[in-house]
Assembly symmetry: C2
Homo-oligomer: 79 residues x 2
């Protein structure tokens, strides 16, 4: 089973990498770049076959390791 | 217009962050984690309204700044 975990910074949390990427794009002459935000994705390959059980497992991984609930929102996609 | 740029390491390119995440998950007691790979996503908000033109612009951004063709594959999603 493949799970993709999308980890995003919550609204209002500074994203310096996104900010700097925006500045760099502007310096390179790209006009009209209003905003750049970064999202981190983990592609996890699991032995688990049951979709619901796999999703629960990955949710636990997010809570224990992958995401920081103070600053992150996360979303899991299976398959 | 919103564009999402997915930047992945090419097959065969080492992903130390993914490797270490896998090890950490195993140490935390998660069984059956076969592989973990990381993907970087840029969410770019553009003033551009024309989809084709926006996509071409973002492709140029990838070539000039966001992706390294030696080690990365990238994919752009509009909307």
């Amino acid at each position: 089973m493949i799970a993709h975990v999308y980890i995003e910074l919550k609204k209002g949390v500074a994203d310096p990498e996104g900010e700097n990427t925006k500045k760099a794009l502007q310096l390179l002459g790209f006009d009209g770049v209003r905003d750049v935000r970064t999202i981190k994705v983990f592609r996890i390959e699991l032995d688990e076959l049951d979709e619901d059980q796999g999703k629960r497992k990955v949710e636990e991984m997010c809570e224990k390791l992958l995401a920081n609930p103070v600053i992150h929102n996360y979303r899991i996609e299976i398959g």
